[in-house]
Symmetry: C3
Subunit: 265 residues, 3 copies
Amino acid sequence: MQIKRNVKIKKPLIHYITNPISINDCANAMLAIGAKPIMAEHPLEVSEITSASNALGVNLGNITDVRMKSMLISGKTAFKERIPQVIDLVGVGCSKLRFNYAKKFISQCHPDVIKGNLSEIRALCGIESNAKGIDAGECDKITEDNFDENIEIVKKLSLRTNSVIAATGAVDVITNGSKTYLIKNGCEMLSMVTGTGCMVTALIASYISSLDIFGATILAVSLMGICGELSHHVTGIGSFRTNLIDNLFTISDNTIINKIKCELK
Amino acid sequence: MQIKRNVKIKKPLIHYITNPISINDCANAMLAIGAKPIMAEHPLEVSEITSASNALGVNLGNITDVRMKSMLISGKTAFKERIPQVIDLVGVGCSKLRFNYAKKFISQCHPDVIKGNLSEIRALCGIESNAKGIDAGECDKITEDNFDENIEIVKKLSLRTNSVIAATGAVDVITNGSKTYLIKNGCEMLSMVTGTGCMVTALIASYISSLDIFGATILAVSLMGICGELSHHVTGIGSFRTNLIDNLFTISDNTIINKIKCELK
Amino acid sequence: MQIKRNVKIKKPLIHYITNPISINDCANAMLAIGAKPIMAEHPLEVSEITSASNALGVNLGNITDVRMKSMLISGKTAFKERIPQVIDLVGVGCSKLRFNYAKKFISQCHPDVIKGNLSEIRALCGIESNAKGIDAGECDKITEDNFDENIEIVKKLSLRTNSVIAATGAVDVITNGSKTYLIKNGCEMLSMVTGTGCMVTALIASYISSLDIFGATILAVSLMGICGELSHHVTGIGSFRTNLIDNLFTISDNTIINKIKCELK
């Protein structure tokens, strides 16, 4: 299997409309795996740019009126032209504005992948979440007790939206409604540096351009977890961030195969 | 005394409305000391988000119409709900727009802390400043000659606004109007990398969520200075920036106590 | 010759209106060579800030309505007050919006320097380009076959606009219409990390504040290439980015003189 090579050779153009907090890291994460990022967000050019791209990512972080408008234009273009797309639900539990927008986007644009932490996925489903800001709440960690309930929520969302769902957390849950995988890669530092969630979405957007949607999502989520594991032997989160990008750049297919902890539920 | 621990355990949610130049570094600085940053700026969600937060920071850097609107909404919410807040006067001497906005914000929102370099504090007070862009002017350094005059300006601003004032520079002056502390930590490199001033405000916002306002401001300003000292044995400002975040993450209470150079005026 | 010293001593204030993707790296690149960046973009303050600055840079990346408005205001102010200015044509081949805006800006503001990769320069001239997103197309590399044709395009643009043109690529072409220099510094990694093109423009803006326009442009483009060469012995693009800023900070005049590969065409 040639995992990273596909994207490295194709150099797909990925249109990612996202927030300024992690936009630089997201662009570098995409470049690290061989994709070509473009982050255009002007409503008068985004349709043209999505059309020319191999995949689309949209991200609710630090939402603005302009990006709300542009993401919807691009999402509709992507749906119409069968360009794969992913939405990142950043902060969907933090404000009514994001919650309503996310529901509208999903119903009008039919994203191929919906990604959020478990608090965000629960919030989107109208189920009580315990989010603290943009992070998953302590109570929303998947434990033995709530395991089956949470898997069920994620699966139902997938069946209802016909999207692959990636619910991230200490254990990541990825489902297409019929099959569900659990990914147990990652390390604590990934949640201690800003933007790693947005970067996962950048990787998903890059891989769905060139692989099947379900496999691409599993690969992207696992890859970030594995690169986190490879990066965390450092002094602090400043070095960790640099190492993470380095590891996305250098990691070999063999390392991915050896390190991946992905099991069918 | 448990200095950093308070925040690390509480994991306060900090709403910081700030500019894109240093927004990533500010988020990572807050994460480094254990706070949870959220940088939302949409006028339709900021009140909701400030309400859910433990403190608010606003920053005039790279000001936009949207952020001018949002910061005022959030500032009023914070004042009304007694959520501690800090304003960073970035570039207040550069344009009439920022000058007028800063005065309006302070009179309507009553921030607990007003932070700026000495040129900015002077400009806000309508006193001749020698700012060059967003940096303090050469002539606005505190010297033996102008020492008493400048301290007096800072104290008067504190008494008039009823805010703690942090006037940063080679020597930082922090006053609550009755007591004034001088902080002599820091290194030259802190002024040679972008965003360190904005990061100080991020630290102030984080600490005022959990400590008394005056003590929190002193701690935040000192901490950045000390971490600068610990970071400057490097090749250049690229590595310095990485080290600075690493040191914010790793520094122990003992190191803070040993290194702090804070004296009552 | 004292290459870097001029700027280091003058500490020119540089107004750069640019995109959020690389805005932090651009500010740090300018600080690294001794300039003072200010990135203000509010239409109501940019004229005031450009007036107080020693040079202006504008950048089409991630274009917004507000920046389109502000860049035009600042460009006109710079032209009227004879403040040197440079435009970066990021993505001019990606959308009609940027194409039309670039033509308008150039005709109304008369920038001293126009910078783009070869695909962008070709697109601006209405000649078929093979751009992929914001990167130069594979087919737009200068080869032996298309060499003379491409040089001719760049020279004609210079004569028509009366601007120095910097057409970047594996070989950079810089012309003032009568003299044309080829710069052969650089390394592949420079194109594998986001924002290096925007940083070149940041360096051009910094140097045109203090040197003659043509010489400043040659120096800025060469300097980025040389610092790329000095930085690429690293693990990946995360470290490369840090090293690049470090090398911009530390590089000596002697190293520049020894490493520069600049020849008159």
